[in-house]
Each structure stands twice: as structure tokens, then as C-alpha cells.
Amino acid sequence: MLGQLASPDLVVVADFEAGLGTVMRLDGRPVDVIVVVVEPTAKSLEVGRRAADVVRESRLGRLVIAANRVRDEADAARVAAHFPGMELVVVPEDQAIVDAERRGVAPLDAAADSPAVRELVALAERILAPAGPPGRPLP
């Protein structure tokens, strides 16, 4: 189905199941961008590192690490240390996202100006740019 959707005028955004299974079933067929979402926890970083390994070793596409629920610089540094040299976007811990999820509404509708949503909008714009600038410089 995803293959049939391919079109120059169409952007497909897929939210994959947790883990590596779906990424591995891409079976070497590349996509434009894979965003590996991690939290700054030991478990999530371990899973994210395995996902990033699969993406890079299989050359599946441009790899972006999205560090979610980042509370402080120490969190950001912890993520960066696990993904040296990789394109990184930092999404801060944001009460507006928590509130939106509790209410069952889209964060973009509920809190378009919140810090976390702003980072995601910037990521989308960067990905869509013809020759996107590199991600945030790594510490």
C-alpha cells in the first residue's frame, strides 16, 4: 500500500508500531526520512540505538533522532551521547502535550504555540525544505 502511494505530490507520514519489526519489514526499500523517537531513559535509548543501527546499516533513508520529553540540558546531552554525529531534534517536556493527550485532542489544535509543538513544526519544515539544513548542532 505504501508503495502504491508513492507520488511526487504526496507526502506520506506513517506512525509505525513500537520496536523494530515494522522498520525491518521495509525490507531494504528506502523512504525519505525515518524519525526515531526516543526518550532520555536508559530503556528508550537502548531501543532507539538498535533502531538507528537498522536504519543506517540498511540505508533506509535520512535518519533523524527526535528526543522527546527532554527536561533539561542533561537530558539532551544524554540523548546526544547515544547518537553521536546524527541529526537531532529536541522536543521538550511540555505540559501542553500532556493536557492535550488527556483531553484526546491533537496537540497542534490544542497548543500550537507550545514549545514542543513548535519544535515539531520546525522539524516538518526542515524535512520539507528542498535542501534542508542540518539539524541542531550536537553538543
Binding site: 520496536g19 519489526g21 525491518m24 538498535r50 543501527d53
Partner: protein
């Protein structure tokens, strides 16, 4: 006691399952913690140092049946024997066994997949309690990966997506083994969160765990909650849940 923790990804299943297993072990029960998620998770929450503890290849035997390749435990190895031989001993004496972990683009866990299934068919019985941690979502729970469970504990946080997943998982009660299915409210922040979860899922809530910043810190440090904050609100809530289940949970 045989319980399996299920729920939407990210709701805290592994954190609660690992803490639950250790608290249960501290009551004197012999506990086997089973992790059927191909992503590492429960090991961190238990406080087991190595995160990959799948069955080794030597435990699993390949054979042919009607021209198809099949796998079973090697001759003479029972499920109970596999637990005794290959489960690692974690903190508080918890035995820990997991499905082989995913690693690398050509990772193939067919052998471990079927080997683990054979262990589930022949788990140790009398004298053991089993605490399972299933991957997020509904796939594994409805595909019999939790068939050992007398009780499914559906971990639900007070978000719409988590409650919806919980409502779907409530359907486990109608599967062949007819297990009990109950909810655990996690990351509770508001006074009516528990009541809302019960009302919107139709499930009996047997545990309410408050939102706990110490858990986030433990997760960041990669240490088990019980080692980081042994007297904190999560540990207290899980201990209460263990008591509830040990005293005999009434069906919903």
C-alpha cells in the same frame, strides 16, 4: 499467581511489571518474570544487569514436519527445565526469562520465537508465580502470548488513546482461557482519573499508581524503581496491588 501486564506502548507496563515481580518475590513467593517483548524493557525495571536474556540457540532444535521447517526445545529439555537452566536470577531472587532481543537489520528470531512459545506451553506450576510483560498494543495479547495468565492487568494512563487500547484489551476476557481482566491506573494526576478509567473501560481497577517523578528519574538512570525510591509512591501503590491480588481478586 499468574499475571500478565498489557496495555498501550509507553503507559508503564514494564516499570510496573518489574516492580510487581520484585515486591511479590519479597513476600516469599518464587517468581518467574517473563518478557515477550523483542525490545529490551523489563530487564531495566527489574534491575537485571544484562538486557538480552533470550533462549540460546542450543536450547532449540530444528526439525521438519510435512516438508516445513519447525522448531522445538531440544530433546529432553522441558519448559520448566529451560527456565531452570536459562532464566537468570535477578534482584530479590526473581527468575527472568525473555524472548530473544531484536538487533541489527537481518535479525531473525524465528528459533527464539518458537522456543519461547514451547516454554509458555510448559511453564513451572506449583510453587511458582509468574509475572509477564507483553509488548504494547493488542497483537500479542490476542495471539495467545499471555495464555499462561489467570489475570491480565491492563495498564492504563488517563489519556484517550490509552483508554481506547484498554477498552479493546478488555475483550481478552472473552478469549478461550477466559482470564480475569482488570485495570491498573497509572500516572494518575487528577482525583477522578481512576473513576474515569473504570467507567470508560468497564474494567475493575485493582491498582492506582500516582504520577511519580521519581520513576522518570529511575528510568533516566537505568535503575530499577525499587532500588532508586524503595519507599516512594509507586512502590507503595504496587505493594498494595500485590496485596489485592494475593488476597484473591474478585472477577469484574
Amino acid at each position: 499467581m499468574r499475571v500478565a501486564f498489557v496495555g498501550k506502548g509507553g503507559v508503564g507496563k514494564s516499570s510496573l511489571a518489574g516492580t510487581f515481580a520484585r515486591v511479590l518475590a519479597r513476600t516469599g513467593e518464587r517468581v518467574l518474570a517473563l518478557d515477550s517483548d523483542p525490545m529490551p524493557g523489563l530487564a531495566f525495571s527489574l534491575g537485571v544487569e544484562r538486557v538480552d536474556h533470550g533462549l540460546p540457540d542450543e536450547a532449540i532444535q530444528e526439525y521438519e514436519e510435512e516438508g516445513r521447517r519447525r522448531y522445538r526445545l531440544r530433546d529432553g529439555l522441558t519448559g520448566t527445565g529451560a527456565v531452570e537452566q536459562y532464566a537468570v536470577r535477578g534482584p530479590d531472587g526473581v527468575h527472568f526469562l525473555q524472548l530473544g532481543k531484536a538487533r541489527g537489520p537481518r535479525w531473525n528470531n524465528t528459533r527464539q520465537h518458537f522456543g519461547f512459545q514451547r516454554v509458555l506451553d510448559d511453564l513451572p506450576g506449583a510453587g511458582w508465580s509468574i509475572v509477564g510483560d507483553l509488548p504494547g498494543g493488542t497483537r500479542q495479547p490476542f495471539m495467545t502470548w499471555g495464555r499462561y495468565a489467570e489475570t491480565f492487568l491492563v495498564v492504563i494512563e488517563p489519556t484517550s488513546a490509552s483508554v481506547l487500547t484498554g477498552r479493546r484489551l478488555a475483550g481478552l476476557a472473552a478469549t478461550d482461557e477466559a482470564p480475569r481482566v482488570a485495570a491498573v491506573a497509572n500516572k494518575v494526576r487528577a482525583p477522578d482519573d481512576v473513576e474515569q478509567i473504570a467507567r470508560r473501560t468497564g474494567l475493575q481497577v485493582v491498582g492506582a499508581v500516582p504520577f511519580d517523578p521519581h520513576l522518570a528519574t529511575a528510568d533516566r538512570l537505568g535503575v530499577a524503581l525499587l532500588d532508586h525510591d524503595p519507599e516512594g509512591s509507586t512502590a507503595v501503590a504496587v505493594a498494595s496491588m500485590v496485596d489485592t491480588l494475593r488476597s484473591g481478586l474478585e472477577p469484574s
